[in-house]
């Protein structure tokens, strides 16, 4: 069947690539004039032919093929001045662009660019974060953070107070594919999630796609967050940094050889533990994280370029010398870009990704270490082909080797007290194609197909369970291939442009996921385990349909969208009631499987230009699970189910020096399990539960404000101060609610609420020279 489909694809492909005569191609790269950074997603429009435009790909490359003639090309990018060039097209041409960043503070007048990308782009449920805008918004501890700003968008919910974890359209936090320079980041948070692993100084671009992603992405059900690091200024050296109350950052970048190669290195460290040192009780404890982003690139010649980038981050937590916990991610990417000719672009990536945690107890004879690790080697090859103005093709393949070492207990003194679990190997493959096709000036279609496979590899024994009872086992020799799961994932999006101001989009996508995060708690821990699909655990499958209306007002100053979606999820995994996740020999004996559904409406109104900018977002949604063995097999609200979710964000440029900003969030409390009765057992008051997640946490709301002061620029030296207050009116939002016998009257039972942050003020000083 697969063979037949592939043949069909080839035929389809060939039929669309029959080229007409007398056509020539303009191609090139779009860059920032000052730093030489490629501008991802910048657009080139042809003035003479309306609705003909191409976006630069993730390496700033574009290609447009037009009939012979004279054209006016316009290059645009958000926050940059428009540039136009007239071209007399009688042969293939290479045109590179260097756009100038349109700073409001400078005398350059930013032209009112026609920013109607949201109307014209085909992919829906997608948003690009403006890194400059993020810097102005108030955040907890003053640490600007792309993942926290993301949570202010419709359909994306915070995983908890001050948390960088997020849920997209009813999916779990492990169902987001988080990529840093193409390398998957398994745990994108530091310090219980209060910080994300993304140092915004090192980031150029962050794009989120909520489920309807093109087929080059795969492996997670809910969303793709594609984060790209900056390349580093290839013209001059630059140092930037920030000093905050609990963390500091420093970045250095510059050319290695002028306009040929450059580097960027950026580091961060928190110093919460310095406060601990000041206290008597906690002075022996440590608690900090650090991370380092580094990147270098080299232009071999006009058409070939090599990039090397890496991330290294680690959290450390210790109680004196007795207990030490540390965890972190390592990623590395080597990429080779090649412009084969004016219509063909190739990228080859070799990616390494590693997440591990270690929990150490030092107590002489009772010393032990609990560690777990996930390690990937990943090879990607992608071709992009721009045959004409109507089609933009991508096709490629991806092969990944995963090695997962589940939580093993290792005794330092006595090997027989250890519980070493075998590592598991698996092999994931995908081939795909995707085409963005402009069928008519009004209709564009983005369609693609991804064939993914997951093979269980040998070297260990896999048990098969029926309702937690072992029924069989499969012993696979080293490198033998066990069960292989194949999945065909169609992706389809339509955009119908109604008129210059509005469009309707609809889409369907199937996504599959073969790596599952097992978490028994209501929020994620670094110790949560990843597990691959096995004989018991089947690939998770999500099907999502969505429909949206997009409208711009007042010469594209305002942008409005309304999107609805319905999503079903198969083969969802959860722990059974009373699961032993610490010492069970095989965690698969403790699992249950079921399905899920999620649906919602997302409204978004954004003011994009002017002294006052900001947005308003509202989400109405529901997400439920049905798992045999939980809640008597009845549907129940998933923990991330929140009916209403509102975010209001405003940034006001008061004067060239001062800007003010604020954001307000409100959401219905998450679904939670509270007792409906109580009894006494083993001499203790114990609670009686009638229903899974049948209650709600109290509603959550909060207002944060911040003010940024940018000092007058002195030569190359720029600096700014950011003052912010998180939770201005001191709302005591419930972080947890627990139940206990009243201390004052033991015949009564009371509910106790813990809230984490009331009024967190912070000051950050940023500089650049």
């Amino acid at each position: 069947m697969t063979k037949f489909k592939l043949t069909l694809l080839c035929m389809l492909f060939l039929s669309l690539t029959l080229s007409a005569q007398d056509k020539f191609t303009i191609s090139g790269t779009l860059r920032d004039k000052a730093s030489g950074e490629e501008l991802i997603g910048a657009t080139i429009m042809v003035k003479e032919i309306p609705n003909t435009g191409k976006s630069a790909n993730e390496y700033g490359f574009y290609s447009i093929t037009l009939p012979k003639g004279t054209y006016t090309l316009r290059a645009n990018f958000v926050g940059y001045s428009e540039m136009t060039k007239t071209v007399n097209l009688d042969k293939n041409q290479k045109i590179d662009w260097a756009l100038e960043s349109g700073k409001v503070l400078e005398e350059v007048v930013v032209k009112a660019t026609k920013e109607d990308n949201n109307i014209t782009k085909t992919i829906m449920g997608s948003d690009k974060m403006d890194i400059k805008e993020i810097a102005k918004l108030p955040v907890i501890f003053g640490e600007k953070d792309v993942l926290k700003t993301l949570q202010l968008l419709p359909g994306i919910k915070s995983a908890g107070e001050g948390n960088s974890g997020f849920y997209v359209r009813g999916g779990g936090s492990d169902q987001n594919l988080i990529l840093l320079d193409e390398a998957p980041v398994y745990n994108a948070s530091h310090l219980l999630g209060f910080f994300s692993t993304f140092n915004s100084d090192a980031i150029k671009d962050a794009t989120i796609i909520k489920g309807n992603s093109p087929s080059q992405y795969g492996g997670r059900l809910s969303s793709v967050l594609d984060v790209r690091m900056r390349e580093g200024n290839d013209k001059e050296f630059q140092t930037s940094g920030g000093i905050g109350l609990i963390s500091s950052r420093l970045s250095i970048e510059g050319p290695i050889q002028q306009e040929k190669s450059s580097f960027m290195i950026s580091g961060r460290r928190t110093y919460v533990d310095l406060f601990l040192k000041a206290t008597d009780d906690f002075k022996d404890n440590s608690l900090y994280f650090y991370d380092l982003n580094a990147k270098a690139n080299y232009r071999i010649n006009d058409n070939n370029r090599i990039f090397v980038s890496g991330y290294f981050g680690r959290d450390q937590l210790g109680f004196g010398s007795a207990v030490g916990i540390d965890w972190g991610n390592k990623t590395g990417t080597v990429r080779w870009n090649s412009i084969i000719n004016s219509k063909w672009f190739s990228n080859t990536s070799l990616i390494y990704s590693d997440y591990s945690y270690e929990f150490k107890i030092n107590g002489g004879e009772n010393s032990f270490t609990n560690q777990s690790k996930i390690k990937d080697w990943n090879l990607k090859q992608e071709f992009q082909y721009f045959p004409n103005t109507k089609n933009s093709w991508r096709f490629g393949l991806n092969t990944v080797s995963h090695t997962i070492t589940p939580g093993s207990l290792i005794s330092d003194s006595n090997a027989s007290k250890s519980q070493i679990k075998d590592g598991r190997k698996s092999w994931e493959n995908a081939i795909y194609f995707n085409n963005t096709f402009t069928a008519s000036p009004k209709l564009s279609i983005d369609y693609g197909l991804r064939l993914s496979s997951w093979s269980i590899l040998g070297g260990t024994t896999y048990n098969i369970y029926d309702k937690g009872i072992k029924t069989d086992s499969v012993k696979l020799a080293d490198n033998a291939i066990g069960e292989t799961y194949f999945n065909l994932e169609p992706r389809l999006s339509f955009n119908y442009i109604l008129n210059e101001q509005s469009s309707i989009k609809t889409g369907y996508a199937r996504n599959t996921q073969n790596l599952h995060l097992l978490s028994n708690s209501t929020s994620s821990n670094p110790t949560d385990q990843w597990i691959g699909s096995s004989y018991n655990i089947k690939p998770e499958i999500a099907d999502q349909v969505s429909l949206g209306y997009f409208r711009n007002f007042a010469d594209n100053k305002y942008e409005f969208s309304a999107e609805t979606y319905y999503k079903t999820m198969q083969n969802q995994v959860d722990y059974k009631n009373g699961a032993d996740i610490q010492t069970a020999k095989d965690v698969e004996s403790e699992l249950l499987y079921g399905k899920g559904r999620a649906y919602g409406l997302e409204l978004y109104l954004k003011k994009k230009t002017g002294k006052f900018t900001g947005w308003l977002s509202y989400t109405l949604s529901r997400t439920e699970r049905q798992i045999e063995g939980i809640n008597d097999g009845n549907w129940y609200a998933a923990k991330q189910d929140r009916t209403h979710d509102i975010s209001i964000v405003g940034i006001y440029q008061l004067s060239p020096k001062w800007s003010l900003s604020g954001n307000f969030v409100y959401n219905t409390g998450s679904a939670v399990t509270f007792p409906s009765g109580k009894y006494s057992v083993a001499g203790k008051t114990t609670y009686y539960y009638t229903e899974r997640n049948g209650y709600r946490m109290p509603d959550y709301h909060r207002l944060d404000v911040s003010a940024t002061y940018e000092k007058q620029r002195k030569g190359k030296f720029q600096s700014s101060w950011n003052f912010s207050i998180y939770n201005l009116y001191g709302r005591e939002n419930a972080y947890t609610i627990t139940f206990e016998d009243s201390k004052t009257d033991p015949s009564k039972t009371v509910a106790k609420q813990t809230s984490l942050f009331r009024w967190v003020p912070s000051v950050t000083y940023n500089f650049k020279f």
Binding site: D280, G320, A322, L409, Q419, S521, E732, T736, T738
Partner: protein, 269 residues
């Protein structure tokens, strides 16, 4: 050990100092529920069986759990010896003849108000506890000045997998209310190397400590294990709470456990 708990036990006081975090009592509107039967049935080694039957109450009620009187409670062993239990106090039923013996399997049957509940429990063979050893705790509680101690029960786990233990620790005649459980998933067939870890129950130099060791069958262990995971529902959410996994059929809460009993005492020096 709960990771999040450790982390928050560092972070919360720190934020507490800064006035950021706070804990307070709140009013919650919790549903009322249909009352359920709660059965706590224990058959200790060489002792008579004690079965307590009560009912659940609503959360807002006071902690008076109504006893179930005049129930028909019968225990039968695997040799066919059977006995109807006598109600010695309201809702409390005891055997007169049957006393728990190692290796025997017991069946419990309860009939009350038109409902029937049954359960089975096997008393495992006792694993000999040979002594108690006290050692200075490796984890110092933040803020404490003096050393605290942990007790290591001395015993050798038998070679066969599947031994389950429960320990009850007493300090100068004050009983530790926490549920302390162990099994041989780790260290099977080895001399015990795990101390009794208990929060909020510090043992200091000079204390007189008694440890009762119980060997349980797997269903009873699973009950206590799952009961413990709900009770451990601390800051950060913990496990999604559910009713513990019971070995009673018929829709009652609680458990039936026949277990071995050994007690040893020591003075920490």
């Amino acid at each position: 050990m709960n990771f999040k708990k450790i982390m928050l036990s560092i972070l919360l006081p720190l934020w507490g100092l800064g006035g950021l975090s706070c804990t307070k009592e709140i009013e919650l509107d919790l549903n009322s529920s249909n009352s359920k039967y709660v059965i706590e049935a224990e058959l200790p080694q060489n002792q008579v069986a004690i079965v307590t039957i009560t009912k659940t109450v609503n959360f807002s009620d006071s902690n008076n759990f109504p006893p179930i009187k005049a129930a028909d409670v019968i225990i039968t062993d695997n040799l066919g010896v059977t006995e109807k239990l006598t109600e010695t106090a309201s809702g409390v039923y005891k055997t007169q003849k049957i006393k728990g013996e190692e290796g025997k399997t017991y069946s419990l049957s309860i009939k009350t108000e038109g409902q029937t509940f049954t359960a089975k429990s096997t008393m495992p063979t006792a694993v000999k506890m040979t002594g108690l050893r006290a050692a200075v705790s490796i984890v110092r509680v933040p803020g404490s000045k003096a050393d605290t101690y942990n007790i290591f029960p001395q015993f050798i786990d038998p070679p066969a997998l599947g031994n389950n233990y429960r320990f009850i620790q007493t300090r100068n005649n004050e009983t530790d209310k926490s549920l302390i459980l162990g099994n041989d998933n780790i260290g099977n067939g080895e001399p015990n190397a795990r101390p009794i870890f208990s929060r909020d129950f510090d043992i200091k130099l000079g204390d007189n400590v008694t440890v009762e060791m119980r060997c349980l069958d797997k269903p009873a262990y699973d009950y206590f294990f799952s009961l413990n995971s709900i009770n451990a529902n601390g800051p950060g959410g913990g496990t999604t709470p559910t009713n513990p996994v019971t070995n009673l059929s018929g829709g009652a809460l609680g458990y039936f456990s026949a277990y071995t009993v050994q007690k040893l005492s020591t003075t920490v020096k």
